[in-house]
């Protein structure tokens, strides 16, 4: 929740701008995504291949969204 508020502050309120803010927002999104998947969705109790699929997906998504 704090990460999400930090993301919002960084994007909308903070005077800090630049390419790295995009990187930080996407990194925080990645952490939130994995946090919900592992803790709430019980990905931690799934087979390692499921974990790899989710991690590869979010890494690809964040990477592509950041590069464009």
């Amino acid at each position: 929740m704090l990460l999400m508020l930090f993301n919002f502050w960084l994007a909308e309120i903070s005077p800090i701008t630049g390419k790295w803010t995009l990187t930080v927002i996407l990194f925080v999104t990645l952490i939130k995504f994995l946090g919900v998947a592992f803790r709430f969705m019980d990905l931690k109790n799934a087979h390692k291949h499921w974990k790899i699929i989710f991690i590869v997906f979010i890494l690809l998504f964040s990477g592509l969204a950041g590069l464009i």
Binding site: F8, A11, K32, F33, D42, N45, F61, L64, A65, I68
Partner: protein, 195 residues
């Protein structure tokens, strides 16, 4: 299979909630993920139009709904944990809270939609709002379906259908609910924040 105690631990074919729902989750994430990447490409190609339209979005409403949905995910996880520990009354309470926060999300999102329509920013206004309506409305339908699924699960839970050794349906419904959460975690920063 209805009794979860027969499921082999950490098998690829038997993830928590069953393999079918996990395949659905992967397909949904890929669909939204690709659509959001296409959105980013369009944003980059028509930066000024997309930026001015993005600035018309109610970002505090988006933030509020993000908090609501993540809180709802926590409630769902707590409800499932209580069923696993044979705490039926607690589980009913947490599942009801999950549904109520889901309904709150839908209500707030509906309110945001009504503001956008009143401002004239409906589907067809420009490319940005085409993406906005398509992606958020598709997600809205998922949350609506999720609320219906959880309501059915709540009814059956109250009737004593689920217990500490039979909770696979609740686990499956929970995975669907967390999928809505995961999709919104991708939608919110890309649609509302990134520019």
């Amino acid at each position: 299979m209805t009794t979860t105690d027969k499921i082999p631990d950490k098998s690829f074919l038997y993830p928590p909630g069953g393999i079918l729902i996990w395949i659905i989750v992967i397909v949904e994430l890929l669909t939204f993920g690709i659509a959001l990447i296409v959105f980013r490409v369009n944003f980059h190609q028509d930066y000024d139009t997309f930026l001015s339209s993005q600035n018309m979005l109610s970002k505090y409403i988006g933030l509020f709904n993000t908090i609501v949905l993540i809180t709802s995910g926590y409630f769902m996880a707590t409800a499932l944990m209580n069923i696993k520990h044979a705490k039926q009354k607690e589980a009913i309470k947490w599942l009801l809270l999950t549904i109520l926060t889901g309904v709150l999300f839908l209500f707030v999102k509906g309110w945001e939609y009504s503001i956008k329509i009143a401002e004239g920013h409906s589907f067809g206004y420009d490319d940005f709002f085409d993406f906005y309506w398509m992606l958020t409305l598709f997600h809205f339908i998922h949350v609506l379906v999720g609320v219906v699924i959880l309501s059915v699960l709540l009814l059956k839970l109250r009737q004593g259908y689920y217990n500490a050794s039979n909770y696979l349906d609740v686990e499956t419904g929970g995975v669907f609910w967390h999928m809505c959460d995961l999709i919104w975690i991708l939608l919110f920063p890309v649609l509302y924040l990134l520019h």
